[in-house]
Amino acid sequence: QAGREQFDRLISEDSRIEPRDWMPEAYRKTLARQISQHAHSEIIGMQPEANWISRAPSLKRKAILMAKVQDEAGHGLYLYSAAETLGTPRDKMTEDLIAGKARYSSIFNYPAVTWADMGAIGWLVDGAAIANQVPLCRASYGPYGRAMVRICKEESFHQRQGFEILLELANGTPAQKEMAQDAVNRWYAPALMMFGPPDDDSPNSKQSMAWNIKRFSNDELRSRFVGMMVEQVKVLGLTLPDDQIRFNEDTQQWEHAPLDWDEFKEVLAGRGPCNAQRMERRREAHEDGAWVREAAAAYADKRATAAAQQKAA
């Protein structure tokens, strides 16, 4: 009871909940699901970009791309750690992912088929991720908020790199410019859908906002994002594939063309272009790595036993 009161007080003061604090089971479950989903997204999200490491068209871009995909593994690590403070071990989360029980961001079920996708993913997908995540730096759960601070810093860096890739292409040869526009065309709508379903179709948002996990509604975040992109795309000299973008002076919100939520649901249900491929790759890496993890554990055990024996002797 004292725990509940303290929790409510901390929330109402907009303070932080820490792992040892009492928290409602639903709060713990919501967070655990959200953080692990976010971690899985980082891990699965490595794949579309890893697809271009070997073919990056300059050594500088190759290095930047490698560093970026590697950062995503790092983000996965922070987030799994944050989720572990809620009581679920990383192994369990990984198993759930492999077994298809856990979700990850649907956007990564689209293929990265050209180099320009490295630009569009950086600019649009990381851009949307940041718009989503900046408010999460103030999430009420301490470890999550702190992980987000670190991640957001790196993500803005990634987004700038994505923008630069597109800028270089947009100012390059006609073929390069066409490649850039095509990538923006393909990633625009999926990026907007990253903010989640429209507010009137997002039943859990309200509770998350009450718990100070979420700070803005899906539509608010999406609208703000569209507003940023519509400015930046001009700098690129490209266009967004949406002729209905306008600023509504009454609502003070950016508006855009309706999104194809049926497609979103299809992809979410596993019927995207790459769902099977992404899961297969992750499963394969996990299974192929099992003997390595077992070896590392066995070796650590042997060393610990030897150290203990030495101490005893």
Binding site: I43, M46, Q47, A50, I53, S54, R55, A56, P57, S58, L59, K60, R61, K62, A63, M66, A67, V69, Q70, A73, G74, G76, L77, Y80, W115, I165, E168, L169, G172, T173, A175, Q176, R281, E284, A285, D288, G289, A290, W291, V292, R293, E294, A295, A296, A297, A298, Y299, K302
Partner: protein
């Protein structure tokens, strides 16, 4: 001089090819920590490759990317070891062990090269390679002494990799010509062997009893692996000649 250019190509191509191989692991490693670790090593190597190739490019009026993307197979100067396939994690670690010990000994001498650019690149690289050496040595211990399965694989990985070690230590005309600007490969054999011997003793491993393969990479005679690697690495750049990225 043309000789220094040739030498810088050897060093640059070695690291470039291995970085290209290691990049494959990012998103496929046995644990996330290794996605990060192998990614770091690949990044270091690509950094070294860029330094050496830029330096070589100076003498040839070419950029690092001209050299990486627009040379044909016989123009590359990498030794065969650096292009060996990844295989399983143990084979990758075996290759990394041999490369990092070789490169550590090489760079720790090359930092005293009479060529100041080579010396500077080596001085920076040697610190990073020291970490690579530690990373692979730790894994050799874990895999060799971990489980029966990991030990079997570690031994198999070493056996598959060993034939390509000898080429690293072969001197040639170019080395004679360069004198103290370069490091004489044959002088690296003893220190590398001695460090490996103590690691192998701890890991309860034997030097694989397999014959050496004929190399020739330094003179553009490559294994059948390089063509595939280049086809993939160069495909996009070559599709858009003259483009910048």
């Amino acid at each position: 001089s043309a000789d220094v250019v040739e030498y810088a190509l050897r060093l640059g191509d070695d690291s470039l090819m291995l970085a290209q191989r290691l990049g494959w692991w990012i998103s496929r490693a046995p644990e996330l920590e290794e996605d990060v670790a192998l990614g770091n090593i690949a990044l270091d190597l690509i950094g070294h490759a860029r330094s050496f190739l830029s330096y070589a490019g100076h003498g040839l009026d070419k950029t690092e990317d001209d050299l990486a993307y627009f040379r044909s197979e016989p123009e590359f100067r990498c030794a065969h070891l650096f292009v060996q396939p990844n295989g399983d994690f143990a084979r990758t670690i075996a290759r990394q062990l041999l490369v990092s010990h070789y490169q550590f000994e090489l760079y720790s001498r090359l930092m005293h090269s009479t060529d100041p650019t080579l010396a500077a690149i080596a001085a920076k690289a040697v610190k990073e390679v020291d970490y690579h050496r530690d990373h692979s040595s730790q894994w050799v211990l874990r895999l060799a002494l971990g489980t029966d399965e990991s030990r079997r694989r570690m031994i198999a990985g070493l056996k598959l990799t060993w034939p390509y070690v000898e080429e690293l230590f072969v001197d040639d005309q170019l080395i004679d010509t360069l004198g103290d600007a370069a490091v004489r490969p044959s002088t690296l054999r003893a220190p590398v062997d001695s460090l490996l011997a103590s690691l192998f003793a701890e890991a309860e491993l034997e030097i694989p009893a397999v014959p050496a393969a004929v190399g020739g990479g330094r003179h553009g005679r490559h294994s059948e692996h390089l063509g595939y690697l280049l086809a993939e690495m160069q495909v996009l750049a070559r599709e858009h000649p003259g483009a910048t990225w």
